[in-house]
């Protein structure tokens, strides 16, 4: 696993020459008569952190779930590194390098951190040259090294996840994505279930990933966090993209006015 960070950095330097990591063109999703997402296009470049904001029901979750393979879009296309991608299941998306961190974490709380990082992709060793057994030792070593590399401390690698705090669980979920060499990380309200000190820890971790050049789409209610971390901000309102702005060229008041729709802007 060593060197994944340097790979990303190398790619970042080439970013002008390469196509965006993710490009969505005209994504649309209907639920019965309701148009949840209406012809939304967006792109994420190498090393870029995209903040996705919008009121409840604006279509953020639906948009994200199309990108992570949960829903198939009714219209529109998704390109990954310039190539068209058909994502018909969450596993397709994972195989394409899109890792999603859900707000309910998607960890098996009865298993330990190493088991969770390797969940569904366990390392196997042949015992007596014949019987395939799970290589717990190797998994723990690798898990420890990825946690160390991300500067994450948890009470014990062999303690079940339920004995960890919410922030530590979030960190385990994030390190799972990193271990499996995510090309794009999607974080849906990563701090929603956390107390304030733990939120800070998680954002430290996200910033750490950003410094390594990992492209990230982050959904948050917390405007301050979005501004602290995002390079670019996309605002959705009633399924439509109403703003796609450089984070340095706007402020939270403007974003809120985009969200609720009482601005006189020309978008």
């Amino acid at each position: 696993m060593k060197g994944f960070a340097s790979n990303i950095v190398e790619k970042t330097e080439l970013k002008k020459a390469t196509p965006p990591v993710l490009e969505c063109v005209g994504l649309t999703k209907h639920f019965g008569g309701l148009v949840a997402v209406n012809r939304v296009s967006l792109s994420v470049n190498q090393g870029e952190v995209l903040g996705l904001v919008g009121d409840n029901g604006a279509g953020k979750s639906t948009l994200i779930q199309m990108i992570s393979g949960v829903y198939a879009p009714d219209e529109g296309q998704i390109f990954i590194n310039g190539e068209i991608a058909k994502l018909s299941s969450p596993m397709d998306a994972r195989n394409a390098g899109i890792e999603t961190i859900y707000q309910d974490l998607a960890l098996a709380t009865n298993l330990n951190a190493a088991d969770n990082i390797f969940l569904g992709r366990e390392l196997i060793i042949k015992k007596l040259g014949l019987l395939p057994a799970i290589d717990k030792k190797q998994m723990q070593t690798q898990a420890k090294s990825v946690l160390k590399e991300l500067d994450i401390t948890i009470p014990g690698i062999s303690r079940p996840i339920r004995e960890l705090s919410g922030g530590q669980r979030q960190a385990v979920a994030i390190s799972r994505s990193i271990y499996w060499q995510a090309k794009l990380l999607i974080m849906d309200e990563p701090t929603a279930a956390l107390g304030v000190p733990e939120q800070r820890k998680v954002y430290e971790l996200v910033r750490n990933l950003k410094d390594r050049g990992m492209p990230i789409i982050i959904i948050s209610h917390n405007m301050r966090d979005i501004f602290a971390i995002a390079d670019r901000i996309i605002v959705l309102r009633r399924g439509v993209k109403v703003a796609d702005v450089d984070a340095n060229a706007t402020n939270d008041k403007e974003i809120v006015s985009f969200m609720v729709g009482n601005n006189n802007g020309d978008l």
């Binding site: 009121d55 409840n56 029901g57 969450p90 596993m91 994972r94 859900y102 707000q103 309910d104 974490l105 998607a106 960890l107 098996a108 709380t109 009865n110 298993l111 088991d115 969770n116 969940l119 569904g120 992709r121 366990e122 196997i124 015992k127 019987l131 395939p132 057994a133 799970i134 339920r162 004995e163 705090s165 919410g166 922030g167 530590q168 309200e189 929603a192 279930a193 956390l194 107390g195 733990e198 209610h221 917390n222």
Partner: protein, 380 residues
């Protein structure tokens, strides 16, 4: 959720929790690591072992309890319960339950006996046994596969699906046997589940697998028998199952499905296939138990596993598995089975009305579940 405009974080957490159908923890995540919590966790983990030792110590004063023969008999008599409980352990770890296992065992014993009876008395014993074994396993496999399909594909809750199979297996057991036991009369067949590995006679010496030749009358009584075949069978099954559950990828996925089925799905684990496999495994174990019954009692009967049906659940739960899924080990199940076995045996030896064994087992189950819940609360 989409109707409301909630910007406050706490409120939106609640909404999201409802939306996702899953409970999210909120508030402080600071853990209390004080002495009381640690003690409680230790008690929760090891009370079964302590209880087991106390149980043996308590009964040890009774004459005849602490003897090699009694211990061997208890283990051999409960081999079938243990085999059922092993299958049940896998099912319960996924958060399910198999209520049909005892009656599938009975059906398997009946069908196997009917097939074995088709062979003339003088047939090759190995062939008869092989056919009986295959039949019993196939019957168990079919019942388990039906359970697994109905639960994973048709999404019928395990409690109901296996209750249905309980009725089906029970009904067919009685229909096919007509009620009374179906006997298998091939000479020597009983030896395979009633024999011992080692026979020792003070003057003649010792022999393996069968009695030393030429012993009669009083000589037979002086023979010491060691290691019933049934113990060898269940030790093999236990070791293989333990490897499957704690070392193989399959076992890891069984724990993951029981721990968080949505996480397992998102991680790409074939959840439906895992569910199907655990019920098939439980069915096969029921088939093996049915076959062992035929060998031990020279015949099959529909109600062979009646008493074992719920005791298999009891053994697993007493052994520390959680009915909510995600927790449990086969070592625990072994201890759970032994606790039930020795309660029954000890009460009989002490001379207590044997019906009190049901009361005792009932009380132990409730205590086991209470301790499990207490443990969960402490961890939260």
């Amino acid at each position: 959720m989409k109707i409301f405009k909630l910007k406050q974080k706490t409120q939106s957490i609640k909404m999201d929790a409802l939306d996702g159908g899953e409970e999210l923890e909120s508030g402080s995540f600071e853990k209390k690591n004080n002495f009381a919590t640690k003690t409680l966790l230790l008690v929760g983990k090891y009370w079964v072992f302590v209880f087991f030792i106390l149980l043996l110590t308590g009964f040890s004063t009774a004459k005849g309890f602490l003897s090699l023969n009694n211990f061997q008999a208890v283990l051999a008599n409960n081999a079938m319960l243990l085999v059922l409980a092993i299958g049940q352990t896998f099912v319960i770890i996924t958060g399910g339950i198999d209520l049909s296992t005892g009656w599938v065992m009975g059906l398997a014993s009946v069908v196997a006996s009917i097939i074995m009876r088709q062979f003339p008395i003088e047939s090759n014993l190995a062939l008869v046994i092989f056919c009986g074994f295959s039949t019993a396993v196939v019957v168990g496999l079919i019942a388990g596969a039906v359970n697994g399909m109905v639960i994973s594909q048709l999404k019928v809750p395990p409690f109901i699906a296996t209750l249905g199979m309980y009725g089906i297996a029970r009904g067919f057991g009685y229909i096919l046997s007509g009620g009374p036991p179906v006997s298998v009369n091939h000479p020597g067949i009983g030896h395979f589940a009633n024999g011992y590995l080692i026979y020792i006679h003070p003057s003649v010496g010792f022999s393996l697998f069968t009695l030393p030749e030429g012993l009669t009358g009083m000589d037979l009584r002086q023979t010491t028998t060691l290691i019933p075949f049934l113990i060898i069978y269940f030790v093999i099954i236990l070791v293989v199952s333990h490897w499957l559950l704690s070392k193989a990828r399959f076992g890891q996925h069984v724990y993951a499905v029981g721990g968080n089925i949505r996480a397992a799905l998102r991680a790409g684990i074939p959840v439906n296939s895992i569910l199907k496999k655990v019920y098939i495994l439980s069915g096969i174990m029921a088939g093996i138990a049915g076959f062992l019954y035929v060998m031990r009692y020279s015949g099959g009967v529909a109600a062979a596993g009646d008493a074992l049906n719920l005791n298999s659940v009891a053994a697993v739960v007493v052994g520390g598995a959680s009915l909510m899924g995600g927790e449990g080990t086969l070592i625990g199940t072994l201890i759970g089975t032994l606790i039930i076995a020795f309660i029954q045996n000890g009460l009989i030896i002490v001379g207590v009305d044997p019906f009190y064994q049901y009361v005792a087992v009932g009380v132990i189950i409730i205590i086991a579940v209470l301790i499990d819940q207490l443990k969960k609360q402490v961890v939260k």
